[in-house]
């Protein structure tokens, strides 16, 4: 018997809908009795790789070896049979059922040929719960449990299926710190009984805290496997975010004819059943003629900031003003009327209506301009669409459903629409996420052009290269607050390692104002 529990070799998986290659010839090995963290930025392909291992996604090519045997995994049932279990990021539980019913679902202990043995179910589930030191009641209704307990049910569900290899997809995303600590205790115990655990995560301190080894993915590729003890958090951050590639964009120097467009004063967002605020006392100003970069690791407030800027997440405290007028309580529609232009990070769900045509998507924000007496003016719309398609060299026609375009072209359409909509400020969130280099460059060029034309450009991105190469000023977020502001000379000399340190909250706020 070897010491390797799972070997995945040369896995290729492309999503047909978007044409994006989520796994590009990826290799992964997991040892027996070890905790492996599968780390990487959002969209690096971690979850896809694990869904392949769990039989929920079919790869185009590649081989999987489990416990020394070549296997074919076509469904979660196959995976379970091979001793592989997965705890999903979103719980796969029936709230109306009891703990025991949820655990046995699909593998029920039988009383006779037809009837479930409810007593045996309770007993068996209770055995698993006790054997691993969990603290849940098998006859409790799952809907009445806390998030941490629900996760325990998920783990018990897999242990009941006798798995030796357990995949957990971002298990701490929804947990409090105490729950996380107790989960890590459980995971260590499981490892010590010889189970192999794979944790998907992008939180650096968790990788250091729990894993024996770490496998890092970036943009669909496997960067490498490392002994956790041999790399520190800064190196990890560097590996996850990639070596500096310089997009080399000609940029005119930072002009200083600025006036304030948008002002955030002590803005906070607190979600009810969550102790820690999502955003805490965020204050900044965005001015004309500059690109203001917002950097941060996922889960540190950039997502909330995006929603606040877009008017889809109400703030709990503080004020936001636009050109001196209070817009703290304005919803998305009001903001749009004021001229908000916004390129969202989720371009498929938020940024476009996939079934609607390119021309329809182009006029969504400005229907009134293209209708007369309540009727759409077809010729007018088509002409508008054709002009924009030409200007932005979109590969596609005006009447194609936008969903049939590639990711880069969808982004171009959204860009075209938003730039047409923009008046004085424009928000970009992860504008080049998942795009190839050419499309990324196109987007970057557009942003510079906007800034040179006097726009206030807000760029939210987890891609440090993008932030550093484009921004005139950078605000760094950690745990929902701004921990550093960099500009001028400081911005030119800062290294990515230093940036990483700020993002991890390792430095306190520095007075970077001149």
């Amino acid at each position: 018997m070897s010491d390797t529990a799972v070997t995945m070799h040369d896995i290729v998986k492309t999503y047909r809908e978007t044409g994006r290659c989520a796994n590009d010839h990826v290799d992964l090995t997991v040892g027996r009795g070890e905790i492996l963290c599968l780390a990487g930025e959002n969209g690096a392909g971690k979850t896809t790789l694990m869904k392949v291992l769990y039989g929920m996604e079919k790869p185009e090519s590649g081989t999987i070896t489990v416990m020394g045997k070549r296997v074919k995994i076509d469904s979660p049932l196959d995976a379970n049979r091979l001793g592989i279990g997965m705890v999903h990021q979103h719980f796969m539980l029936v709230d109306e059922y009891t703990v025991a019913q949820n655990v046995i679902l699909g593998r029920e202990p039988m009383h006779n040929r037809f009837t479930i043995d409810a007593d045996a179910a309770k007993r068996l589930v209770d055995e698993v719960i006790h054997a691993h030191g969990f603290s849940i009641d098998p006859s409790a209704r799952v809907g009445s449990l806390t998030v941490g307990q629900k996760q325990q049910v998920e783990i018990v569900k897999m242990l009941y299926r006798d798995v030796d290899i357990l995949i957990l997809d971002e298990p701490t995303a929804v947990l409090t710190e105490q729950e996380t600590a107790s989960l890590f205790g459980t995971l260590r115990t499981l490892r010590d009984t010889g189970k192999s655990l794979i944790l998907i995560t992008h939180k650096l301190h968790e990788i250091k805290a729990i894993s024996d080894r770490v496998a890092i993915m970036r943009q669909g590729r496997m960067v490498g496997h490392y002994e956790t003890a041999s790399v520190d958090e800064r190196e990890l951050a560097g590996l996850m975010m990639g070596k500096s590639f310089s997009p080399a964009i000609g940029k005119t120097p930072y002009g200083r004819k600025q006036e304030t467009v948008l002002r955030f004063a002590q803005v906070s967002v607190v979600r009810r059943n969550q102790g820690r605020p999502m955003l805490k006392d965020v204050s900044f100003v965005a001015r004309t003629g500059e690109i203001l970069g917002f950097a941060g690791v996922g889960g540190n407030g950039l997502g909330e900031l995006e929603s606040v800027l877009a008017g889809t997440l109400p703030i709990s405290g503080g004020t936001i003003t636009h050109r001196g007028q209070d817009i703290s309580k304005s919803d998305a529609h009001r903001l749009r009327e004021r001229g908000l232009a916004y390129v969202p990070s989720d371009r498929l769900k938020v940024g476009s209506a996939l079934e609607a045509s390119v021309s329809e998507n182009l006029i969504i924000a400005a229907r009134k301009r293209f209708s007369r007496h309540g009727m759409m003016r077809g010729k007018h719309i088509m002409q508008h669409a054709r002009t924009l398609i030409d200007t932005y060299s979109v590969q596609g026609t005006a009447d194609m459903p936008i969903g049939t375009l590639s990711g880069g072209n969808i982004q171009k359409v959204i860009l075209a629409r938003e730039i047409a909509q923009y008046r004085d400020y424009i928000v970009f969130s992860e504008p080049t996420w998942g795009l190839d280099i050419a499309s990324s460059k196109f987007v970057h060029t557009q942003m510079i052009a906007l800034r040179d034309a006097g726009a206030s450009v807000l760029l939210l991105s987890s891609n440090l290269d993008e932030i550093l190469s484009l921004s005139d000023r950078v605000l760094i977020f950690s745990r929902g607050s701004i921990v550093a502001e960099l500009e001028g000379e400081r911005l030119h000399t800062v290294t990515k390692e230093e940036m990483g340190a700020y993002m991890l909250g390792m430095h306190v706020r520095e007075a970077a104002h001149e």
């Binding site: 109306e96 679902l105 029920e108 479930i116």
Partner: protein
């Protein structure tokens, strides 16, 4: 009064059967509005097959098969071809309504009421001992075998839904579909079977109508499939609840039949009683649910 209760039980039987079938699809996560059409198909095909085979048992069995074929069509289009279940259900209802009339014309040269004298009437079963109990005896004894069959089937569905792995998974499909998918089980497979079960029950429900009458009347179901849907919600999607809810409707219907003869009120008002009952019952249940929700908090 005894006669009223007796006929209430007789009238509720098709409702109970159709609602029972609909309960399976409902719990599997599909709003099955095709109950009406499936019932009509069952009503027509079972009396025709009874007439052709000369046996009620064969007639009902073949009627079930015919109805299940229609349900298979519905299930394939809905589940495999992924059409909207509301539209396919509506189509099934329209198809059943048209098809039965066309077939009736082809077979018997008549688009209206077709009377089958030859098939005789349904047997009545007196239950020994029970029939001696006052009130209750009159209520539940002396019915056609279908009435007792519906109770057996109700007990059976309750057992299937709550005691077997099939039931556990079927209900999980309706409550949280993704859970099943994550365990490698197919929600569609359970929904497919649920459609077939609802066809089975609706076919018997339809057979009760035509065999009782000894005739086929175009659109004989006259909204009973829809009322069966109401019964499912009124019965809070529980087997015993269905029994209670369908009894309420049976009683309302029986009462309006009785009142037509006894009271000097325009018949239109009296015929509206069951529908008024439906409305009232829904309001009461909704208030009750709201109240329960508040107690919880």
């Amino acid at each position: 009064m005894n006669a009223l209760l007796h006929s209430a039980v007789a009238i509720m039987t098709p409702l109970l059967l159709a609602a029972m079938g609909g309960l399976f699809t409902e719990l599997s996560g599909m709003l099955n509005i095709a109950l009406e059409g499936l019932m009509l198909m069952g009503a027509f095909s079972s009396i025709v097959f009874t007439y052709l085979s000369g046996s009620m048992i064969w007639g009902v069995l073949l009627g079930i098969v015919a109805t299940m074929l229609l349900a298979t069509l519905l299930a394939v289009v809905t589940l495999n071809l992924k059409s909207n279940v509301f539209i396919t259900g509506l189509a099934t209802n329209l198809l059943a309504s048209g098809l039965t009339i066309v077939l009736s014309f082809r077979l018997f040269g008549n688009k209206g009421v077709v009377v089958f004298d030859r098939i005789g009437s349904l047997p009545r079963w007196d239950i020994p001992l029970v029939s001696d109990i006052p009130v209750l005896g009159a209520m539940i004894s002396g019915h056609s075998p279908f009435v007792y069959l519906s109770w057996v089937l109700l007990a059976l569905s309750s057992w299937v839904l709550y005691k077997t792995p099939f039931g556990l998974r079927l209900r999980a499909a309706g409550l949280h579909e993704k859970t099943l998918v994550s365990l490698g089980l197919s929600p569609s497979a359970y929904r497919f079977i649920a459609f077939l079960v609802s066809a089975f029950a609706c076919a018997i429900a339809g057979a009760v109508l035509t065999l009782n009458l000894g005739a086929f009347v175009p659109n004989i179901t006259s909204g009973k499939g829809w009322i069966a849907l109401v019964v499912i919600f009124l019965g809070q999607k529980k087997p015993l609840g269905l029994l209670g809810a369908s009894l309420v409707f049976g009683f309302a219907d029986a009462f309006s039949n009785y009142a037509q003869g006894a009271w000097n009120v325009p018949a239109d008002f009296i015929l509206a009683i069951p529908y008024l009952f439906t409305l009232l019952a829904m309001v009461i249940v909704s208030i009750h649910a709201d109240w329960k929700e508040r107690i919880k908090r």
